[in-house]
Symmetry: C2
């Protein structure tokens, strides 16, 4: 079910939608079962003969599988085109790179906007609550379906980093290395609080219709835009906002009204408005819920190190950004401490940056260097040569 | 027009609503004029014979004149009952303490819910945009109407602290001392961003009706609750949220749905729901706008020290809280640096606290001690004895 590979931007791209029939259901942490399951994914580069060069990239809350190729809705470059491409740290001439849309998402993988086979209508709130572990379980099914036993690396930032940690806990035998960027082993009270504001904003919109807006032919765009605006502030540092916008005005002088006087207001409004064009409101509810439920230590008797007890063979790289206040460095340090306690090999780098959480998407040379260096060392250890091994 | 003084909780309380006729309009920074103007205020204690013991307390964004007496809507103690009372730092047995509802507010002072004399309907969006300086101008009118030439002190936290700074810039000759707590000389890009989210949440609510909800007989409760929830997160530090709530659940086990699973969710929902009972949505828009427009340096040729050029006779105390990320200590330091540059006397204390911005409302002994010490020293300098001088 893989779409034919194409050459784009100097490297092969592939992917498509993998359909798991009802006989291969996704068993969820909630006890529910999702079947049939579709997983939409993209691939970059080619799997080598020994199948030892596969890299899974896990996307963040509002990301998707369009990692390094044009986004079909926005027409913009993939969200990590800065990092994935020829000559870049994740080089499709060396690695077979896979990125799949998470369960609960809205870009092709089964989510609340998919048709519920029981009713032949969009699931809406009939969609089961999912977890980070459920997302990872679906990815593991995809990887197996693609005939890959072991991933050379699993890499992700933010929610993607949480999936990386969950992979290490649940499938350590399938990993050679793991890169966790700007993430945490659990959602803090403040993280939950911000998500709850976003969910309440969506659910306050009368067009949300108790979750059944697709059936009603409307969309809770205003509520979702407010949710995105609130979340977006948490992705940037105060310093970055000050540097980018300060108190700069949109026009000469104040409006003495409620128009967007300040550039930062206009920027946020734009972030909200453009988000609703590409994202499903219920997916936003479900994925933020999965994040809030995430607590890797709690899954392992309250001791985070226990989560990594079987991951001693995995080589870890943990990265944080100094100005990230959504998932501060202290939370990455907790992960590293647990990895050390479990006897795992872990590199840790706190990257000095004033760009906040979103630094991992942005031009941050130290991130590129660290990724490149770590992956090159693992490639050598794995016996991957410069080309396709 | 002062209501008869009453004895409450061991001290005299008074106040009422001062009506300035159309012949005494409030001239606003926007160029508009507000007339007639009503200013609702409360007083605690008695003005001494030399009228030298008057203290004006300026309230914060969602505060009001009910400083140290029961709130008429919520039935709760006044918002600063911890600080204002017999034996407390602001002792009504020593000082005549005045607190008035700001212009644009919704507790009796003229605001967007007041009747527009032109239409005899609530102003709604016909209310003019107001500034911190407009609020202070109305307070100065009230103080003059009460027959007071000089304030022994003007005291305020958060938006109240901004009013304190504006008093020092606009009426330095009327001040003996000034206490600015947890504030800043201007709103940062991040501050503006959070306010814009709140305003968009209110305006996204169809019950907002373009501002004319009172006429329509509805209220944008859901939008205002979301706005309050987002703002409330900024009033608390991450550490305080973690300490108070962590990931504690409301019930045994997760709901696997969108109920308030976590205590922090339930707390925020309660904050939102209770706020809408006591606050007007349009007042929230206007007052947040006034805050965003606040930039004391910009009013004085871009040099903050210029704002304090005539305040050399005023004794300042500037206080910040170490975990306040809404108005961080660095912004209080900027104020102190400007006061020093202007040749003003300024004490500065950063109080170690993990309670965040809201520390100034909460049990924070070092705040009480600092206030008590500073005011006692100023009282001595002013020749106020222990009782009514």
């Amino acid at each position: 079910m893989t779409a034919p590979a194409q050459i784009t931007g100097g490297f092969e791209t592939g992917g498509g939608t993998w359909r798991f029939p009802a006989s291969k259901p996704l068993r969820l942490d909630s006890g529910a079962v999702l079947a049939p399951l579709e997983v939409a994914y993209k691939t970059y580069g080619r799997l080598n003969e020994t199948k030892s060069n596969a890299v899974l990239v896990c996307h963040a809350l509002t990301g998707d599988q369009h990692l390094a190729s044009t986004h079909p809705v926005t027409g913009k470059p993939g969200w990590w085109s800065r990092v994935v491409g020829p000559g870049l740290p994740l080089d499709p001439e060396r690695y077979f790179i896979i990125c799949s849309n998470v369960v609960g998402g809205c870009m092709g993988t089964t989510g609340p906007a998919s048709l519920d086979p029981k009713t032949n209508e969009p699931y809406g709130l009939a969609f089961p609550v999912i977890t980070i572990a459920d997302m990872v379980r679906a990815q593991a099914m995809l990887i197996e379906a693609l005939g890959i036993d072991t991933l050379f690396a699993v890499v992700g930032g933010s929610m993607g980093g949480m999936q990386v940690l969950q992979w290490a806990a649940d499938y350590p035998e399938k990993l050679f290395s793991a890169v966790c960027i700007a993430a945490a082993a659990r959602h803090s009270a403040q993280n939950i609080a911000f998500h709850e504001v976003g969910r309440q904003a969506v659910m306050a919109d009368p067009n949300w219709c108790g979750g059944a807006y697709l059936k009603a032919g409307v969309r809770p765009e205003k509520g979702l835009a407010v949710a995105r605006m609130a979340a977006h502030i948490t992705y940037l540092s105060e310093a970055a906002l000050q540097r980018k916008f300060g108190r700069e005005l949109q026009r000469d002088g104040l409006s003495w009204g409620f128009d967007a006087d300040f550039q930062v207001e206009s920027y946020l409004r734009h972030q909200g408005a453009s988000f609703v064009d590409r994202f499903d409101a219920n997916s936003y509810l479900y994925i933020t819920r999965a994040l809030d439920y995430f607590d890797l230590a709690a899954q392992h008797g309250g001791v985070l190190a226990n989560a990594f007890a079987k991951a001693r063979g995995v080589r870890f790289c943990v990265l944080s950004f100094s100005s990230d206040w959504l998932y501060p460095t202290a939370e990455s340090r907790d992960v590293v401490r647990a990895l050390n306690a479990a006897g795992c090999r872990a590199s840790f780098v706190e990257i000095e940056s004033d760009k906040g959480h979103d630094a991992f998407f942005l031009d941050e040379p130290q991130l590129d260097q660290t990724l490149r260096g770590f992956l090159a060392a693992q490639a050598q250890a794995r016996g991957l040569n410069g080309g396709l091994a």
